[in-house]
């Protein structure tokens, strides 16, 4: 394997770079000096600043309010559509591309026929242990979620899986059990219930 393969590049770069302690300085004085930040540009007075007392408007960065409706969501006859003021749009420069997608975008194929659905249901019913959602999704070229929509597992299989999972969870220690419970709690708030 070449040293220049992509996943090794950062390590290589780090190894070749001159030694600079990144996180701290050896003395408090140096550390304090290092942490000292210059004031924000908007707070600095220059020749163009007003002469008298004035208000500096420099709010901290925050997410846009949901009360600001994107123009796309407005009714066709909404007069605010013409004004781009109300839209939390990104200022994209000429030729600049949109930020990278978090997940790889894909197109839906809609390639399955009713015969395929019948076959999926048949396979799933016949042997739910072998023909899992994932296995069927690979076989038919669609998502596991879609398989679940077309052919739900039988009740018996669901019960069996439930107890299998319970048995596995029993082997968790105190720390993992607590961490999982907390994670589930945090996740339950993402839909808006945590009020953030």
């Amino acid at each position: 394997m070449s040293l220049l393969t992509p996943h090794l590049r950062p390590a290589l770069r780090q190894a070749l770079a001159p030694f600079t302690p990144a996180r701290y300085e050896s003395t408090t004085r140096r550390m304090t000096k290092k942490l000292r930040l210059p004031p924000a540009a908007s707070f600095r007075l220059d020749a163009s600043s007003p002469a008298g007392t004035h208000i500096i408007y420099n709010p901290p960065p925050t997410a846009a309010s949901v009360k600001q409706t994107p123009a796309l969501f407005m009714a066709a006859n909404d007069p605010r559509r013409a004004l781009s003021l109300n839209t939390p749009s990104l200022p994209l420069a000429e030729g600049q591309e949109l930020p990278p997608p978090v997940r790889k975008p894909y197109e839906k194929k809609y390639h399955l026929k009713p015969e395929d659905f019948a076959k999926i249901r048949e396979l799933r019913k016949a042997d739910p242990v072998t023909n899992t959602r994932k296995a069927l999704a690979e076989q038919f070229g669609c998502s596991p979620f879609f398989i679940g929509m077309v052919a739900e597992a039988t009740k018996e299989h669901k019960i069996e899986m439930h107890f299998k999972q319970k048995k596995m969870m029993k082997r968790w220690g105190r720390i993992r059990t607590k961490a999982r419970a907390e994670k589930a709690k945090r996740k339950a708030g993402w839909g808006g219930a945590d009020g953030l």
């Binding site: 009360k67 990104l90 993402w190 839909g191 808006g192």
Partner: protein
């Protein structure tokens, strides 16, 4: 609105069809349970007390309203009281004689609306019409059905009327202002805006105080109701559902019914008041009422009473001043189960480009506390932004914010429709219809 046949949509064989761009797929059907409940779920937001102007506290003796107590002490005023009361019971005669004999003696508080300083003060504090809204009605508003089961005397009818008015006006206000609110959110918002909890607080703010275990001679200015017995959880169901069934069964078997008192565990007095000709028997008798609900009923009854005495216009003004003026954070009510899917369905239905989550910025990916800032884009338009400690969290929060922006769309005044109740208050007024949404999506 296009309606799909519910059985066709929800049958398992056809579920896969929903994902396709079929005509009318994803359009709300009001009867579809999944459309109404599955993807959006309402949570009760934390309530914030509104800033209100100073109001004199309960029983503030510097505020007698327009009841001048000294007037009651002279003979003519005492006679006036008798004339206005109309039906004269034993208690009233006693009071009358006391007044006649003792002259300027202090009046003991009793269920005499015209002698209660609290009641007059409350009447004045609420700004009720002096000429149209009699004190006796206000006293009636404060008598709960658990205090007096006679519906002619208690506030049950008035509170029912008030409840309907408040519910109707609150929901029409919310739907006109936010025409895309999902039904679950609308229901929760109405109860957060003007539900029993809020009306209880409102009653307290008005300065209504309650009598503890009231008897007939309690001050008419106090809220009077029967307490729920300790440990009684199903206070509403004490014999409500069981009673008619048992009775019919017994009658069919040709057996004699048990005496009502034994069956219900009620006192003789309560049984006598109930109407024996009523087929359902004592179904509606509730012996105890939680404090919160008793307050809420009294407040609703005041709304109902204003409606009857002063008309709809005055009631609406009162409603605006006391309920619509309260701060309510609608965006905190939302809780989505499947935000990304819901957003995709909306985009597909409306013909927008499919939403794609894009990473706007990040910090500390390999540290213990990473922060990712993700935006959901349709084409090159940003729909919503969310921050989170993982890419998934940020992506989901961004979809939630985009959905909130969609559902909380509020048309500006120039295209917003009129309130449907506008023409009820003024029949000659012109009604302008507003923005109507296609409705919720089916997930």
């Amino acid at each position: 609105m296009i309606c799909l046949d519910q059985s066709v949509v929800t049958s398992p064989e056809n579920l896969h069809l929903l994902g396709k761009n079929r005509p009318s797929s994803g359009i709300l059907l009001l009867s579809s349970l999944s459309a109404l409940t599955l993807h959006a779920h309402a949570v009760m937001p934390k309530m914030v007390r509104p800033m209100m102007a100073y109001q004199p506290p309960v029983g503030d003796q510097t505020c007698f309203g327009y009841l001048v107590v000294t007037k009651v002490r002279d003979w003519s005023a005492a006679l006036n009281i008798k004339i206005r009361i109309g039906a004269v019971g034993e208690n009233e005669w006693c009071l009358f004689l006391v007044l006649m004999g003792a002259g300027p003696a202090p009046i003991s508080p009793c269920r005499q609306p015209l002698t209660s300083t609290r009641l007059a003060a409350l009447h004045a504090r609420l700004g009720l019409s002096k000429s149209k809204f009699p004190l006796e009605t206000l006293a009636k508003c404060l008598i709960d059905r658990t205090m007096d089961h006679n519906p002619a005397v208690n506030n049950s009818a008035l509170s029912n009327l008030g409840n309907n008015l408040i519910g109707y006006w609150t929901s029409e206000y919310l739907l006109t202002k936010y025409p895309r609110l999902p039904r679950a959110i609308l229901g929760q918002s109405v109860s957060s805006f003007a539900g029993n909890k809020v009306l209880h607080i409102l009653g307290r703010e008005w300065g209504i105080d309650h009598a503890f275990m009231p008897k007939a001679e309690a001050d008419a200015g106090l809220l009077q109701f029967g307490r729920v017995r300790p440990g009684e959880e199903n206070w509403m169901l004490n014999a409500v559902n069981k009673r008619p069934v048992n009775r019919l069964k017994l009658e069919a078997q040709g057996k004699e019914r048990q005496p009502l008192e034994e069956e219900m565990g009620l006192t003789t007095e309560e049984v006598e008041i109930a109407d024996p000709s009523d087929k359902k028997g004592l179904k509606k008798i509730v012996v105890g009422m939680p404090l919160e609900l008793a307050y809420a009923n009294a407040v609703k009854a005041v709304f109902g009473a204003i409606y009857l005495h002063e008309g709809q216009k005055a009631t609406y003004e009162f409603f605006k001043a006391h309920i619509l003026s309260r701060h309510f954070d609608l965006e905190k009510v939302f809780d989505f189960f499947t935000p990304t899917r819901t957003l995709s369905r909306i985009a597909a239905r409306e013909g927008f480009e499919p939403p794609i989550a894009r990473l706007l910025s990040e910090s500390g990916r390999n540290t213990r506390h990473p922060v990712f800032n993700v935006g959901v884009f349709s084409g090159d338009e940003l729909l919503g932004e969310g921050a989170g400690a993982s890419l998934n969290e940020a992506r989901i929060r961004a979809a939630v914010n985009a959905l909130k922006a969609w559902y909380l769309y509020s048309p500006p005044a120039s295209i917003r429709g009129d309130l449907p109740s506008k023409t009820e208050r003024d029949p000659s007024a012109e009604f302008r219809g507003g923005f109507l949404d296609k409705g919720d999506v089916v997930i």
